[in-house]
Subunit: 260 residues, 2 copies
DNA sequence: CGACACCTTGATAGTGCTCAATCGGCGTGG
DNA sequence: CCACGCCGATTGAGCACTATCAAGGTGTCG
C-alpha cells in the first residue's frame, strides 16, 4: 500500500505566508485585484450572470469585500461550514481530499471566475479541502445572502444549476480518466484541459500559458507519483508533444494532443 | 495500453430483451411497479419531496406514465437530448462512459428512488450513457414540465440543489478512491457503499442484500479488470470480510470493512 | 552560505494486466 | 430431453506499467 509521509506542504498552518516556488520575482506576475462588477473581465463566466447592468449592480451590492490569500494557504478544510463564499478573481487554487494515511487526491483546479466550492450553495458543509496554489484574490459573499439571491429568481437558479451540470460533466470525464486511462493519457488530458480553460478565460498567450503546477500537483491530480509524472513529461517533451518547464506550458503538437 | 474487445454486452441493440444472467427464475425477484405517489415507499428519497399531500398530488399529475425496461437495455446514449426523464422505482441501472477504444467506466449505479441522470434538469444533453442492469420500472416525466415544476418554487429548487450537492460529494469520494486507493480498498468501499445505499432504501435484509453485479461490472466501476476483481473477492472471502456469490452480498465483518 | 523545494535519474519491486484454458449454469433449438 | 452455445467465474503463468527508494543537481530565499 502506498503510504506517503506528509510533505512540508501539509504541515503549513493557516497563517503561512511564503510565496510560490519556482518563479523568480521578475517572472512572477503580480496579483490583480477585483474592480467593479459591471466591467469585470469574467462577468459571463460565473454562476451569476452580470452581463445585464442591474444584475451587476445587485451582485456588487452583495459583495462584502475583496480579499487575498497567500500561496499555499489552506482556505478551508473538509467538513468546514463557512458562512462566506469566495469567488476567485486572480490566481489558482485547488480542491482536494486526503486519506487517513496521507495520500492526497486533487479533485479540480479552481481558476479565475470559479466559485470556490460550488456545492456550498446547496449544502452547509464542504466535502473537501481547498488550498491556494498561487497567491489569489477573491470576492467575498455571505453564503446565505448569495444563496437567497440566486434562488430568489428562477432564471438565476437555473443558471446555477447549469454550472452544476457542467461541473458534473467534468468530473465524469475525470472518473473515466482515472479509471481507464494510462499515465500518459491522463497527463496529456489534464494539461490539454487546463490549457483550454485558460484560453476560454483569456489567460493564454499564443506561445503557451502560465501553469503554476509542480509535478507533485499533477501527480496528485492524476493519481500518479511525482517521479512518474516527471518521466512521462520527459517523454512528451522528447516526442515533441508539449513541454512544461518553469511554470510555462507550451503545446507543440495540439492536433496529436487532441487525438489522445 | 489496455484495449478491450467489445463484449457481447456492447453489441446489444436497443430492443434487447434477454434477462439478467446468473439467477435461476426461482431466485429472481419479480419487478414491482409504481403506484400512487402519496404512499410511495421512496417518497422522501427523491429530488422532489412528496411527503406533503399536495406535492404528492402535483407530482402524480406530472407523471406521464410508468414504463419498464428489460435488463441490459441501453436507456440512453452519451450525447442524447431526451425530452423525458425517468425515475427508477424498482431495479438497478448504471451510468457509464466509454473511451474510443472500448474501455468502459461505470460512473455510478442508479438505485430505486434515483432520477436517471440528474444533470438533465440543467442541461439538455447527457454526458454519459445509461443502461439497465436488471429489469427496471420507472416513472416517466416530461423534462420541460418537471424542470418548470422544480424551478417554479424556490424550496423545490433548493432541494434539487441539495441532491446535486450530495451527488457531487459522492463523486468526489470516487475520485479519491480511483486515484489513491488499492484494488482491495476500492472494491471494499464500493460494496460497502452499495450496501449502505440499499439499507437506507429498505432493500437489505439482515443476512445481506441482493447485488445483481457481475465481476465485470465491479471491475468497470473500480477501474480494474474482471480477473483481478475475482482474485480480490476470493481474498476477501478467505479473510472472512465479506462474500459475494450468486448475486448475494454478505458482509461478514462490518467493523473491519468500515475501517478500510 | 545553508536550507529547502523541486526536478532528474537509476535501480528495484510490486500491483494489477494480459493471455489462455477450464468449468458450471442457463437458455436455445433440434 | 439432450446437445450446443454462450456467459460468467476461476485459475495459472508471464509481463507491463507504475511505485518505491535513494542519491545528486539546481535555483531561490533567508
Amino acid at each position: 500500500m502506498r503510504q506517503r509521509e506528509r510533505g512540508w506542504e501539509n504541515r503549513l498552518a493557516d497563517n503561512e505566508t511564503s510565496e510560490a516556488g519556482s518563479l523568480s520575482p521578475s517572472r512572477r506576475p503580480e496579483l490583480r485585484l477585483p474592480g467593479r462588477c459591471s466591467n469585470c473581465p469574467l462577468r459571463n463566466l460565473t454562476v451569476y450572470d452580470t452581463s445585464r447592468a442591474e444584475d451587476a449592480a445587485a451582485v456588487e451590492a452583495l459583495r462584502r469585500r475583496c480579499a487575498t490569500f497567500a500561496a499555499r494557504r489552506i482556505i478551508c478544510y473538509e467538513g468546514d461550514a463557512p458562512s462566506e463564499l469566495y469567488q476567485v478573481f486572480d490566481g489558482w487554487a485547488f480542491r482536494y481530499k486526503v486519506t487517513r494515511d496521507g495520500r492526497r487526491q486533487i479533485l479540480s483546479f479552481v481558476l479565475p471566475g470559479d466559485l470556490i466550492d460550488l456545492p456550498l450553495l446547496n449544502a452547509d458543509r464542504t466535502t473537501h479541502a481547498v488550498k491556494a496554489l498561487t497567491a489569489i484574490s477573491v470576492c467575498v459573499f455571505s453564503r446565505a445572502e448569495l444563496v437567497d439571491f440566486i434562488y430568489g429568481d428562477d432564471r438565476r437558479a437555473r443558471r446555477a444549476g447549469a454550472a452544476f451540470a457542467a461541473q458534473s460533466a467534468a468530473t465524469d470525464e475525470q472518473l473515466l480518466d482515472l479509471g481507464q486511462r494510462s499515465a500518459f493519457e491522463r497527463i496529456a488530458r489534464l494539461l490539454s484541459h487546463l490549457a483550454a480553460q485558460l484560453r476560454r478565460r483569456g489567460l493564454a498567450e499564443t506561445g503557451g500559458c502560465r501553469l503554476p503546477l509542480t509535478q507533485m500537483h499533477i501527480a496528485d491530480a492524476t493519481g500518479l507519483t511525482a517521479v512518474h509524472v516527471g518521466r512521462t513529461l520527459r517523454e512528451m517533451r522528447k516526442s515533441d508533444l508539449l513541454s512544461l518547464a518553469q511554470g510555462w506550458l507550451t503545446i507543440t503538437d495540439p492536433k496529436r494532443l487532441e487525438a489522445i
